[in-house]
Symmetry: D2
Subunit: 384 residues, 4 copies
């Protein structure tokens, strides 16, 4: 694993846990963690359960006892590490967004395509797909329970930088993060919306804004720097199946902590989800009798629900971290079965193109920017 | 009163009720109801409590015993009736949207301006402002409890025409209704958003769609006609105070019956409202201690709350109809006090301009269309 | 109508409104209001829409132009007025609880039985039955949608006297009110539970408590008096069909304003209701597929729902007051059709016996006190 | 660890996880798992991460490399194992209920008291205390934020045996489980109520019921056996500080999966919690201004919240399993610091006495049964 910060912690917990709950052919060993700062990496390795700490990610790639490279660094380094790892025959799990630019993402897709011919797998980590309630929503859409999809409204609302004194961390720097709320959390709702509906965005009109343009460069300093990424991004668009969609990603929604919400309306039913109540899916079925119709609060913890059967009895909730455990289980299964895990790098590239279109619209007068889909429709079709 | 359909029923209940709960200087007599079909108008007058039924609205205007003309007809006839009534010195309450076109609305504003010089009052009926929870939200914003407003997300979701066999009623005909979901329910969320924030929309990028393009012309017929209005409208825009806003009005949100929702995020707090739980306002206060902070479910039925003191003890809920009772109380008070009731016709015109900008954007490539504000900012400022 | 305080206001609004929304054979005239204080009664009559004000309820009974006597006074005077009115051939609507003692209630039942032989009707006003969601709950149980009933948990939570400085109003005086939370709001949940399940309580074990034993006798006085009624009552019991039931009525549930809640679990389904969201009924159907099962939030505003078709389109909520409007409609219908309206005085007497059993248990060591049912089972059976 | 079923799985996940998130002086090794069936124990040990599998719990006690014995078996074997382990100088974590009888629990307390003199610690596993929201509720009460406590209503609602064909598993056999819903889930709400309020039950009046008295002895068999435990238990009682309390534990609440609910009303505020939304605590503060007062939905995931700071950023929810992780962290800390972990065996004994009182009341005419407290008040006082 490369990186040991927030994502490093979630991925480590997933690797440590996955085989205790999922019946998998292979049980991974947590071989090595790489990070530039030796002391910090050593501490993290011990704490997170990795056998050794290394200070250069290249050392991971050179080791024969490593089969999977798990990339948990900021977006700026994804392309270099992933391309090298795939070239070296390592399966790659790469955190989202796939890259900081479309060009980088295209290079990664090329590398993944080539690697696939050698049986080497690449996956991008849009973990929220693997909330059981979100997967169930996707299943209901795929089974036709919602009929023809007319509306998607997706929001990802946080509030961690409402305070203008919050310092300029790497997520607020374009060099490191590529963009602000857009790439960090907007990418998640784009993936979630496309995953649940099985449709791709074909174009957008967008607005972005940076509400607080200068911030302290660190805690407790009077030195300020410029914020060069968006604080919030709003866009409306059309999906390939004819639905209208609206998106909003913001770090300025006071009181909303991690509210990834999606609501989908179809001719036969609707679903609604909010990550702040992640074990619940709300489902309205238009075939219900009018006297007893209404949104059902489905507690997605039944044995019949995606992933849930591996865990506890009904009603015993799951937490955030297990979106990563499910991701790990699915990656290990795909490797064992010799198939491509999803979302693929190509899926990640398509999302990168949406992000680019949003920025182009926002910077170019808020008008319509079409999004090329090309061969990608097939990939999403494969989700079903 | 002109018209006796849905709005005629709500307004009649308001006139019948208002003096039993509000201390007003004047108690109106329900003199006459006008409708083209004599039999239907006569039945309605008896049922709804009007002393006589007339078949021509002009007859209302000619009567000396009528001081207020209440227009509850489809939008196509608003301008003619309102202009005539104001010219005749009658105070006018006109249902929303103010008109079917900007030109009509401008003529109505001119008539209202002229009438005002004679002490004759004109009001447009955006009743949802007068849900106590919505008025409370406005008050909290005006008092600075939300700080600087950053985000507005407003939706009006219904599902009454999801069934493609639902007939082509007047609300689906451009001639009568002006537009579809946009003018009918989109107008309400534009007003609500502007009212609550005290800011005006300065421009929009928009999408509209008609999902079902042909419908039976009536119940139980095989004859179909074209739907020439929108089924849904989405738009994003900027408010005069710098906030980003998103709007969605649709009649295709399966399972949502009358879900007028608004969420506003500011630097100091947030509010959220859904008409399907109309007695509740959710409020997050960033000054709360982190351990006990969270959205508060305020049951807006306390004596301290807008309008609520006139009714029942705390916790005894109000219904939809009393948005109209509050409107009637405020109109009667304004007439007594010799001031202009709000929203004014000028406010209605500004909303008409937003509707026109949405249509222009949607029909012209989904790009940015600015909205002229002119003298209207003052009017909204007056809300405070 | 006798009385013009809180209940007088709700009943007046009901009489004023009922014929505008319900198709009834008879339209009542609001003839006279009686109250001891002439000035107050006169003001109330004008405000609430009654033609004249009288200072003695006996004068109502003597008038030939009055057919219905509506008793909205505290419980202490119910028996005398009701018995006299029935003897005089007036139909009677009497607020709950029916009386302050079982003996009074028995006398009222005797009077009602005798009057019924003359076609004179008597009804007790348990208005919460006529919340559309509560009536729907009853219908679902009666249709077998919940199967065999196993559990009822009913609570009525208010907080209006948490402040120890709240004065000693009549509702806190045994002479006037009979009991405290028990008779005032406990009576409502007993009725609701029995109404919804169609079963009667056969015995209880109970606790009561008076948390604040002395209070100011009025606002802004240092003179204190004893509180001689309960602040809260808890009891558990068994229903005639084998279900277990728990009840709690309190005026000390800080933050709960008017939270009449009931949850019923059966072998085939469950319902849950809270008056603070009175337009919603939550329903779990065990026949739903496990993947999509969950409590449904039914917005009880559809044309198919009890009473709702008389009002507005779906999603346009009703308020508290219309429980009384529905009560008035049902009483007028019963009078027209020559049948006994429900709940009958006999139903009211049975509830009085439950209240007496609760007090007996609470005062006698919290042990089991059986409740005689006698002929009353038939009456409740008639609810279906 | 003894046992490898449901509780064995939760405890294993806790031991595997605790040191990655909590800074503890000691990091336990998962030495050995004991279970009677060699094949099953071996599989479980491998799956759950234990180094070896043993077939006799006595072998755990004999090993020098084991310091903690974690008892995850049914209640019938708790006393024997715990007493032996404590005698052998092993710290003991014992699942709840502490025992199947008061006598067994008394013996365990004696053993724990004796062991404590040697620095050997004993803890009983009421894990729901360590839901962050429940601990926060306790903290708010302890800080006086709720004022004087007046009401507790606690429910634990499940529905897993509504189907009469559900087989006679060990939890439905008195020999193994001691009692039914009462000891299994009723014990949890007794602990939660006492923990949150810091008060002890002083007496109860109770009802119990077995709705389905015969069940198949296994899946897919026609052979039936008697159910000799309760399906549901209801009781009302008084707490040592003067509050009234109601409790209900049932496995027949159709649609409720794992709904451990508690609501506490005090003179200054209220809290409400439902495990089905375990990351939320609802809190009403009577000192809030009336215009903006209301129950706050606190998402208990902030760094300031109990346990939450060890995990993820705000809004990233925790799951059921981490109640056990927190329990493990607190036990390890207590061992390191040389203090008694809570809840103690004495706390477990007091709950056993409540269970016995409930059964005595239910079987003896539903009357009041007082509960001896003795020295235990001190222990609960120590919670603060």
């Amino acid at each position: 694993m490369v990186g040991y910060s927030f994502m490093g912690r979630t991925h480590s917990q997933a690797w440590r846990t996955v085989n205790a709950f999922f019946d998998l052919a292979r049980a991974p060993t947590m071989v090595a963690l790489a990070g530039r700062d030796r002391a910090a990496a050593t501490t993290a390795a011990r704490r997170l359960g990795w056998n050794v700490a290394l200070t250069d990610w290249r050392a991971l790639i050179e080791r024969d006892d490593i089969e999977i490279v798990d990339i948990c660094t900021p977006g700026a380094s994804h392309a270099e590490i992933a391309v090298a790892a795939l070239a070296a025959g390592k399966h790659v799990l790469c955190e989202k967004p796939l890259a900081n630019t479309v060009a980088e993402a295209e290079a990664m897709v090329a590398a993944a395509d080539e690697a696939a011919t050698r049986g080497v797998r690449a996956m991008v980590g849009f973990n929220y797909r693997r909330v059981p309630a979100v997967t169930l929503a996707r299943d209901l859409v795929a089974e036709g329970r919602l009929g023809e999809i007319r509306h998607v409204r997706a929001q990802y609302l946080q509030d961690w930088i409402v305070d203008p004194q919050h310092p300029l961390v790497w997520r607020l720097a374009k060099d490191e993060a590529g963009s602000g709320a857009l790439g960090d959390i907007g990418a998640h709702i784009i993936d979630t919306a496309q995953f649940v509906t099985g449709q791709l965005l074909t174009g957008v009109s967008a607005l972005t804004e940076t509400f607080v343009r200068r911030r302290p460069v660190a805690e407790l300093t009077a030195v300020h720097g410029d914020v060069d990424v968006d604080d919030a991004a709003l866009f409306i668009g059309r999906l390939s199946g004819g639905a209208l969609a609206s998106f909003e990603a913001t770090r300025f929604a006071t009181g909303r902590k991690n509210s990834l919400r999606i609501e989908v309306n179809g001719s036969a039913g609707s679903i609604a989800f909010d990550f702040e109540a992640m074990n619940e899916l709300w489902f309205a079925d238009r075939t219900d009798d009018a006297r007893t119709a209404g949104f059902r609060r489905i507690l997605v913890t039944e044995p019949e629900h995606p992933y849930a059967g591996a865990w506890w009895p009904a009603g015993h909730l799951l937490g955030y971290e297990h979106t990563f455990t499910h991701q790990a289980a699915d990656l290990l299964t795909a490797i064992t079965e010799g198939i491509d895990p999803t979302p693929t790098f190509a899926d990640g590239l398509q999302i990168q193109r949406v992000l680019a279109a949003v920025e182009a619209s926002a910077q170019g007068g808020n008008g319509w920017v079409p999004i090329p889909t090309g061969r990608l429709a097939a990939s999403v079709g494969g989700l079903r």
